[in-house]
Structure formats: structure tokens, C-alpha cells
Amino acid sequence: MGPLNIFHQNADNPHGYARGLKARGKTILGYFCSYTPEELINAAGIHPLRLFGAKDDTGIADAHLQAYCCSLVRGALTDVLSGRLDYLDGAVFPHTCDSIQRLSDIWRLNTNLKFFADVVLPVKLTTESSRRYLEEVLRKFRSDLEKGFSITIPDERIRASIKTYNAIRTSLKALYRMHAKKTSPLTAGDLNAIVRGSMIIDRTEAASMLADLAAQIQAPGKADGSEKRVMLVGSVCEHPDIYRLIEQAGADVVWDDLCTGSRYFEGLISEEGDPISALARRYHERIICPAKHSSVTGRGENLVTLSQEHGVQGVIFLQLKFCERPASRACSWRSRPSCLPKVSS
């Protein structure tokens, strides 16, 4: 099976992959958002597994969450309460939105996994004090992992992990670029599966498969260039159908600003100096997600830059029902429509 199929398969069936890992004796930690310092988990020799949540019947979550909760949070709770995550040794909750924050409480009080950690990062990423605090949070998380699993995580292991993640991110970005330039046979849906798959499979294997994939691709894209070039903006996209729908409508997602897309791979970590400081720097400086604050115009400006850089003709905002974040973001973008070639939502 070629690497592309492996990514597709595991993005579609993360539980199957995780059970296989568990059978081989691997410790697995589930996590929720791209602000989780998974580089540290990986450095601890633990497998970080991104949790996307059940998409089917989430009735079991009804006893804990109101109907007006987003599908991601409901789905994750459903998965853990129904025993579908029986392979997990624990979970890590970064501080993102109000819903994830409460999911953390509900999870902690209703599950009994070996490890549990809240990683309460700052929301404000503009000051030296917040950078310092962020770094301290990462150090605390490292020691939580060490205590929780009775291990030590030496700096060298963190450095090696950083290298792996840099390799993953570099390849992902290269694959995205090739697609945007129409020099790749991969579709936008393939890229989405590749990014999600990279959050599921062993990171060292992911790094080498991605490098192979990037090297193999030479064929020009199958698109004929007549489709409209659009950018997909939102939190998480785990619905392959969306890409099919967009394609059928005569458009191609040439770039995105998604937690399961460019926000995952933008920004490399310095491989020099103290590895925790380097990690903190990436989290402090990377393009923010809507749950954080950089400047009041930063996110909108980033969207403008991305759309110009990739020749985007339209933007599609993907909003998960009941999520407040994209709502405000969409508006911040709309308040500057003159910057845009074309806006659609």
C-alpha cells in the first residue's frame, strides 16, 4: 500500500490504528487541538493521538452536555464514555475554547484513565510575560508527564522530537504548495486526509512517508486550471464530503486556514538552544487560532496575505454548528471586504 493510502486509511479509522499500536505495547495519549505540545508527548516515547470525536450517534453524551454543544466536544465525550477509546492511557486538554474547557472537567470527573493534564496556555500572545508563562506551562507539562509515567524526558529526546515535527511540517507545507501551484496529482481531499493522518500515525513513520510522498510527486495536477481557487477557513475539517462538494461545484481548495490544515504545519521550531524555549517560541509566534489573541487585525491580515499569496478567488468559512469562534472570525474578515478578491461563505 502506498503512503497516500496509508494516510487515508488511518485518517478514516484512527481507532483501528490506535488499537494496533496498543497491542504492540505503546502508551497512547489523546489530545484535542493544535496547541497541545505534542512534541513533548512524542519525546516522552508516548504516542500522541489527535481525537476528532464520534460522528455517529452521540446520545450517550446527552447526560452531560446540552444539545447546543459542538459536534467535536460531544463526539469526543461519546467516544470515551462508550469505551471506544479503551486504548487510551490518558488525555491532554489545552486551554482553547469554553466548550473544551468544560469538556476537560466532565472528562476528568467521568473517566478513569491513568493520565490527565490541563495545559492552560495563555490566550494573549503579545507580551514577554505571556511568553514566559507559556514556557513555564510547557516545563510544567514536561514534569507532569515525567511524574505521571515515572520517566525522564532528556533535552536530547525533545530535540529529536522537534526535528521529526519540523520534518513533518516542512513536507506538509511542500505538499500544500505543490497542490496550490497545480503541480501535484493530490486533491485537496487527499491533503486533508494526509494532515489528519499525520496526527494519527507514528510520527517518525509519518515524517518519512511524507518525505517520500513529496519526493514522488512530479506529475502535474489533474485539475485543468478552470476551477475557481478557494480557501477554506475554520476550525477543524474532518468531512471529506466537503471537498467533494466543492470540487463538484467547480472549485478547488488551494489553501486553508484550518486547525486540521495549514495552522498545524505553519511555523517551524528552532533546533538550536534550549528546546523548551524553542517550543514556546513557536507557540507564541505561530499564526494564531481564533481562541487566542495576537493583534486585533492579525487574523484578518493573515487571511488576506494567504489569499494573495495563493491566488485565492473566494473564501469559504466552514463553521461547526454551535461553535462561536468562526462566527466572530467570519465577521472580522467581512469587516474588511475591500482586501478580498471575492468573498463567499
Binding site: 475554547c97 467521568n110 454548528k321
Partner: protein, 410 residues
């Protein structure tokens, strides 16, 4: 139902004074441009004391949101915000306030334009985006006071981070106001703030008396001052007066619900556009909502305030407020209230607007039923958007709930 004469004696003298104070306050705020004072918009849980020290007039979009809700303008304003592209899932305070700012509409002809924005995320993450939108719209400086969420603890690293932001806040204010921060005045304001909070708690505590001289609906009304003018002498004087009136009522036997039989606890924000209806519906069952978790939140972190060092202790007091802690921490406060006010049941407002307040309520409900053995009911709404409220469904639920309490209590 009570007779009109009874209604008359049950009216609070202090209500008139409170309206006067609020009117003066809004007149002051709206004439700030003429008087040369600065106006800051600030979130309801934000550290207001430094603004008072700097003689900046604090204005609260959330207090205004309550006003919008109570005057039944929420639905219309929210729909205007939706037309601008804001989702119906967004907090109805935020939707209504954004619509007001852009339309220059709403009660009292809109809020005075801010010179600066102070956003503290100890209540939710929504305010972060809401204030960014205002910062872009009004093009004024924004200060974010970041209070890390305390699920189970307040770690030392968080304490240091928040403490350093107090200094950054002061520098920000000095920069915007163009004058230095007065430390001496800061001590006075701190003392007044603490005194105000103590008095507010004492007012709420009078409802521990059986029967209670006030209800949570009264607390929702009288709350406005501790929110908006905390740290001023006006607040201290007013709550002293209100406390005296409460004690006088106890002495004279004037009870909020004439035939109080059942005592209930309210959770979450009020349903602003149905206060009267809810209060009458419960009263018809001889049920008094004696306390609530919402108004208590403005005196709930007094235990973290150091009287001799108010400024430094703001770091902890503002971080460990009711909405910024884990649900197992929240429920401890609820247990204390259940005991203190001798409560027979709990009414939970599942508020679509406020996810940090509402998610976790079902678990809290279960814990209360297990540990305190009292029944709980859930009412659903968007606290300022009346389009989301079903009166008949709520009435049916209240009837069933009261039936359960009656059976239990006899």
C-alpha cells in the same frame, strides 16, 4: 397572588435610589466627552479598581446587555447582528451589544464611545473576540487581562503571570490617560471595593432568614452597582442603606413571598426578559428563589483578597472567580449555599448564550442530587434573546418540578 397594598409595602425604598444612581452614572458616562473624562468598556468580571483610581468611567456592555434584555429589545438587536453575519450560537449579550455599537441604537440611545477597552477572560473566551471586534470598530486601544483557567488549582506560574499583568495594566492606563497611577488612591479604592463586596454579601445573606426578605430577582436588580461602580463610596453607602432596609424588613416581618413555603436556588444568569413572569410563576407556588450563583459571584472571591495588599491580591481574586474554576470547585460553592440558605431545590438556567456557565450543569445537577438529595430542574433560554424562550414549556416544567418538591417536603 398578592394584593396591590401588599405589593406596595414590598417595594424596596432603595430601588428608587438605585435608579437615581444608575441614571447619574449613565449621564456622567454619556457626558464624558464634555467633562474631559475617559470611558473604558470593561467585561463584567474585569478588574475595575485601577480604572476608578485613574478616574476613568467604566462602562459594562454586559450590564447594558441586561438592560437590553429587560427592555425586550434583545431579539430585535440579536437579529440585526445575525444579519451582519454573527451566528445565532453567539452569546446574546455579544450579539445585542455589537448590533447596538454599529447601529448606535438600543436603550438610553446606546453606550458612550469608549476611549479604551479592558477585556478580562475570567468569565469566558467569547469576550476576547467580542472586544477585538470593538477594538477594530472603534479603533481604540485594547488591554487583555489574561486569567488562566483554574480547573483544580491556581499554580504559582499562573499567579506570577497574572500579577505581572497588573503592572502592565497600570502602564497601559498611564499611557492612555497620560498621568501616573496614584498608589495612595489605589489603597483607598481597594478598601472601598472590599467593603462594597462585604456589604453585598451581607445583603445577600439576609435571604438566609426564613422567610426571606428578598429574592434572587431582587438581587438581579440590585447587582448593577457592585458590578459597575465597585471601588467607590457610592456603592458602599448604597449597600449600607439596602442592608439596613433588609434588616428592617426582617424586624417588621415583610417577606418577599408572603407565604414562603419552599426555598430555591437559581443557577446561571437571569432570563432578563422574563424576570417578572418567572418571579410570579414561582410565587404562585409559594416558592422563593432565595439565592443564586450569579449575583454571589461578585463577592465570591473575597477570600482571596488581602486587606492590607489589595492591589497584589487582585491577581488571585480575579483569576479564581466562579466561572474560571472547574465544575467540581463550583459545586462546592453550591453546596455551601444550599446549606446556608436552607434550600429545597435548584433551578438551573441552561443558557445557550453562556457555554462556560452551562456546560457541566448536568454533572453538577447529579452531584447535588447525590450529595444534597434535593431536586433540580432545567430551564432553557438565551438570556437576552427572547425569541428563544418558550413560556408554555417552561411553565409545564416548573409545575412538574414544584409538584416534586411539594411531595418531598409536604
Amino acid at each position: 397572588m398578592s394584593t396591590p397594598e401588599k405589593d406596595k409595602t414590598r417595594k424596596f425604598r432603595a430601588a428608587k435610589r438605585m435608579r437615581e444612581i444608575m441614571t447619574e452614572y449613565y449621564i456622567d458616562a454619556k457626558s464624558a466627552v464634555q467633562t474631559g473624562r475617559k470611558v473604558a468598556w470593561i467585561t463584567s468580571g474585569g478588574p475595575v479598581e485601577p480604572l476608578i483610581v485613574m478616574d476613568v468611567i467604566p462602562v459594562y456592555p454586559e450590564n447594558y446587555g441586561a438592560m437590553i434584555g429587560a427592555s425586550h429589545m434583545g431579539g430585535d438587536l440579536c437579529s440585526k447582528a445575525e444579519a451582519l453575519g454573527y451566528s445565532t450560537d453567539l452569546c446574546s449579550y455579544a450579539r445585542a451589544d455589537i448590533a447596538c455599537a454599529i447601529e448606535n441604537g438600543g436603550p438610553i440611545g446606546g453606550l458612550p464611545r469608549p476611549d479604551m477597552l479592558i477585556c478580562c477572560n475570567n468569565i469566558c473566551g467569547t469576550v476576547l473576540k467580542w472586544y477585538e471586534i470593538h477594538a477594530r470598530y472603534f479603533n481604540v486601544p485594547l488591554f487583555i487581562f489574561d486569567t488562566p483557567f483554574c480547573h483544580t488549582e491556581f499554580p504559582e506560574i499562573a499567579r506570577r503571570y497574572v500579577r505581572s499583568q497588573l503592572d502592565e495594566y497600570v502602564s497601559f492606563l498611564e499611557g492612555v490617560c497620560g498621568r501616573p497611577f496614584d498608589l495612595e488612591k489605589s489603597r483607598e479604592v481597594g478598601a472601598l471595593s472590599l467593603q462594597g463586596q462585604r456589604l453585598w454579601q451581607a445583603v445577600l445573606d439576609t435571604a438566609a432568614h426564613r422567610p426571606a426578605p428578598m429574592t434572587a430577582f431582587d438581587a438581579f436588580f440590585f447587582l448593577a452597582l457592585i458590578v459597575t461602580l465597585r471601588g467607590t463610596k457610592t456603592v458602599v453607602d448604597f449597600y449600607q442603606e439596602l442592608l439596613a432596609e433588609m434588616n428592617e424588613r426582617i424586624d417588621r416581618g415583610i417577606w418577599a413571598i408572603p407565604n414562603e413555603r419552599y426555598r430555591l436556588l437559581w443557577d446561571n444568569l437571569p432570563v432578563w426578559y422574563r424576570l417578572k413572569w418567572l418571579s410570579e410563576t414561582f410565587e404562585a407556588h409559594d416558592a422563593c428563589l432565595v439565592a443564586d450563583t450569579y449575583t454571589t459571584a461578585w463577592c465570591g472571591s473575597m477570600k482571596y483578597i488581602d486587606e492590607n495588599n489589595f492591589f497584589d491580591s487582585m491577581a488571585e481574586a480575579y483569576t479564581r472567580i466562579y466561572l474560571n474554576i472547574g465544575i467540581d470547585e463550583m459545586v462546592k460553592t453550591i453546596y455551601t449555599m444550599i446549606d446556608k440558605y436552607e434550600v429545597d431545590g435548584m433551578v438551573m438556567h441552561s443558557n445557550r448564550s453562556c457555554k462556560p456557565y452551562s456546560f457541566g450543569q448536568y454533572d453538577i445537577q447529579k452531584m447535588i442530587q447525590e450529595h444534597k438529595g434535593i431536586p433540580c430542574m432545567v430551564i432553557e433560554s438565551h438570556m437576552t434573546d427572547e425569541r428563544s424562550f418558550s413560556e408554555s414549556q417552561t411553565a409545564t416544567r416548573i409545575d412538574a418540578f414544584m409538584e416534586m418538591i411539594k411531595q418531598k417536603k409536604g
